[in-house]
Amino acid sequence: MKDTKIPLDIVFINEDLDVISVHEGIPESEEFITENNVTFVLEVNKNSGITKGDELEFSPDSQVDNSKMIVLDPNGNPQMELDGGERIFSRANTKILIKFAKKAHSTQSDNDYKALGKRVFKFLQVQEQNEPEYVKSKN
């Protein structure tokens, strides 16, 4: 381990989160360690006690990436992740938008597209005026 100053355990882990092998990372060693089918490599202090066949677990509280917004169902289970900028419309409003969109699509008339656009912006405006509501995550 070039430029590594402390003795480490180098843990190779596959896609199924099983430890494939554990190698000793010797400080300043020029030796290389190669493994196949690696999806994760974990480096921790040596003598970690990790051995082949151990399983990597992601703690529930760390699976939630705080930079993402997640849509929760009423039980608090994640349903989808938002990248940002998405809008979610109520079922009723979605039905209305679909109706306008279908009409515009069939007539191809500018006025009908305009009506669709107007409707979308109207719904956005209403959303903008709503106060944010928060619920507690299950975790």
Partner: protein
């Protein structure tokens, strides 16, 4: 770099996640002290032959 909590061999670690090439290249190089419950997790997009 993001830090996440992991469990392995009945221990818990708080690990930095190295995802970009730069983060992987830097790794734990030149670190002179690593707390017992910390480390680094290198994440690869696809299962691959990896050399360390």
């Amino acid at each position: 770099m993001d830090k996440i909590n992991i469990g392995i061999a009945s221990k818990r670690y708080k690990v930095k996640v190295a995802e970009t090439d730069e983060e992987k290249e830097a790794g734990l190089q030149n670190i002179t002290e690593l707390p017992e419950d910390e480390g680094m997790l290198f994440v690869f997009n696809e299962p691959d032959e990896i050399t360390f």
